[in-house]
């Protein structure tokens, strides 16, 4: 019998399979590359912002109507958010009264978009040549958009920033950690190490596994019903959001913790028992420390998921216009993904680049969280 043709066929099948696998990966990577190039390309302009040099007159009338501080032909070009600070400046520096100074002011989003050459900038025709001339003369400058990182949301695109949402996200995440991690880990330890194996605990197990798979919006409804309607947690607050996300993250943490506990070799428990350790001592002194890297990784991945979540937060009222960073966990706040969503539905075109920039910030945070998880695992992992 000649086996060469069959051998050749088997080799070919081998190579084909390898090729399919690589093609699948290349396909997925090309999507990822497309996404990143698209987002980064759209987001880059948001990190630059136009500033305009205008004469500001600190007259008494400015206290009541900030628009009067600058000549009519510049009013449309300067951001309202800058003009609104003038009465305060005058109050703080009364010696300015009656003087006219050249000031660098934040330019309105229409000027900004016009200079960036974006379609749909909406700058009125009569201002265009004026703005171009000012730019050529150096009275309009592009600067790094530090406001984006130091300010909260605003309805004026040029003034809108990510800070309030970022602080909100951190607060929400801290509450989620404080609630979900201890409860999740303790549940898993009990189920894995102490609970008797009977119908009841089996039913709980099945339910936890199912909970990990239900759509996240249902947790939002649950959060609304329990935390807001029954317990009276203020709507839109970081506490309401954090508790809701904790509910959502619990099953993930429980499942990954149990997997980590299970991967601790039985011989370690046996050795500890053999030396006369109690159940609690075995778990606390030996099993938990060894399972720690696994628990940590699982928790971080669960929390990263929670951080990118919007659906349940929509239900508890966090998808709102909240420009101020929260001072406490009871204050109304918004979170990064919610901020991205709100910007994406704005009609003003300058928000488009800010949406992309927001996505970039969110992605950076998520990637560094995941990177942290990978690093922790590789650092603390034990092999037997």
């Amino acid at each position: 019998m000649n086996i060469t043709p069959r051998l050749k066929r088997r080799y070919r099948a081998d190579r084909r399979f390898k090729f399919y696998g690589m093609a699948a990966i290349a396909f997925a990577l090309s999507f990822l590359a497309f996404f990143f190039i698209d987002i980064i390309g759209k987001a880059m302009p948001a990190f630059e912002q136009a500033y305009i040099e205008v004469p500001v007159t600190y007259s008494a009338a400015v206290k009541d109507n900030y628009n009067k501080a600058i000549p009519r032909e510049y009013r449309y070009l300067v951001s309202k958010s800058y003009l609104r600070t003038l009465p305060y400046e005058l109050e703080a520096h009364p010696e300015l009264l009656g003087k006219t100074k050249q000031r660098w002011a934040l330019a309105s989003h229409r000027v900004d978009q016009y200079i960036k050459g974006h379609q749909g900038h909406g700058l009125k025709k009569k201002y265009r040549s004026h703005v171009t001339a000012m730019y050529d003369d150096g009275h309009i400058e592009m600067r790094f958009n530090a406001r984006f990182f130091s300010h909260g949301d605003s309805k004026m695109a040029e003034n809108a920033g990510i800070l309030a949402a970022a602080i909100g996200s951190i607060l929400v995440l801290l509450i989620t950690i404080a609630v979900a991690v201890p409860i999740g880990v303790m549940t898993a330890v009990y189920l894995e190490e102490f609970a008797p194996d009977n119908r009841f605990t089996q039913a709980i197990e099945v339910n936890i596994n199912n909970l990990a798979a239900i759509p996240s919006i249902l947790y939002g409804l649950l959060g609304l019903a329990i935390f807001i309607n029954v317990m009276g947690v203020p709507r839109s607050s970081a506490l309401a959001g954090g508790l809701t996300l904790a509910l959502m993250t619990l099953p993930v943490i429980i499942i990954s913790t149990r997997a980590a506990l299970r991967s601790v070799p039985e011989s370690i428990r046996d050795a500890a028992y053999g030396l006369g350790a109690s159940n609690l001592q075995v778990v606390m002194h030996h099993v938990l420390p060894l399972a720690f890297p696994g628990i940590l990784t699982g928790s971080i991945i669960g929390l990263a998921q929670a951080m990118g979540e919007t659906a349940p937060l929509l239900i508890v009222g966090m998808m709102a216009y909240i420009p101020e960073a929260p001072g406490s966990i009871l204050d109304a706040t918004t979170v990064l993904p919610a901020q991205v969503y709100t910007w994406s539905s704005e009609s003003i075109r300058a928000f488009e680049e800010r949406t992309a920039a927001g996505i970039l910030v969110l992605l950076t945070v998520l990637l560094s969280l995941n990177g942290f998880a990978v690093w922790l695992r590789s650092r603390t992992q034990k092999t037997w």
């Binding site: 309805k155 950690i177 201890p182 009276g232 203020p234 506490l239 216009y321 966990i329 003003i348």
Partner: protein
Amino acid sequence: MKKTSLFACAAVAATCMGMTAAQAADAIQIVGSSTVYPFSSYTAEALGTTTKFKTPVVESTGSGGGMKLFCAGAGMDTPDFTNASRRMKLKEFQKCQRNGVKEVTEMVVGYDGIAIAQSKTSPSIALSRHDLMLAVAAEVPSKDGSHLIDNPYSFWDQINSKLPHRAIRIYGPPASSGTRDAFEDMILKHLTKHIDTYTKLYKADKKKNKAYKKYHKIRQDGVYIPSGENDNLIVQKLARDTQALGIFGYSYLEENSDSIAPAIIDGVIPTPETISGHTYPLSRSLYFYIKKVHIGKVKGMMAYANLFMSDKMVGKDGECTEIGLISLPEADLAHYRANLKSLKNLTAADFAKK
């Protein structure tokens, strides 16, 4: 492990603190229509930056969702204002009354037009409301008008021979949206309540055929494509799909005038003048409602309402008009300002008038 138990204690403590200190309502809470949201939040920002009051929290829940929250009760955890892109319904008013929200003041801040638009590259199209009704209704009268048939039209020239041979494809808001409500009101109900083919069915059996009194069902065979609450998505689709029409708020048309152009409806193009003058048929008033029992308990409520109704915001050259609001005529504005000053109560009789 000590760390973990410490965490647990912290969590429990935080939760308990939350319970006792809750309800310290200091910022104004506003809910309601996504159409009024841009103007409402703009005013909120102005209030926050120019006065000592905290910036109100403005949530975009849709008109119906806002009414539900607003009318849920008079407690301090309920919203202080609700925005709406249509008037409060009698049913909602009664719900408010039942739940203890007895005194409500109604305000109109301005108008919004609903634009029917298409890609700028397509040849302009002029439609009547009747054409549009026949294009989107689920059931339409047969050619002889004797009975209703499932909507058979897939090209505009089948509806009206004067129209071009162009596929009917309309991207519009989903059923939960206030814009959709308004569209159904102004295009479908407005016409079908006067068309015998529908109303005779209702007269024949008032209970079973209640839907035919003011028929407003939109077809679901893929010609009308519900496209989510995000109007930017519809704008993007129109730029690519040159055959299609889209339905969205006027401010999106204004902001995207480089890529999309309005259709002419009943001979009129939407502009700020035609919308506020009611010659453009698809214009609607934008409302907000004040929960009077909260005034005095929540700081800054009157300051917000006064600012929102001021010339600086919603007057002819007000800041809100720069972001797409169409301002009320002087006389109407004065009327509502007087109502705001006296905090005139909304009564059941107000609903009978219209």
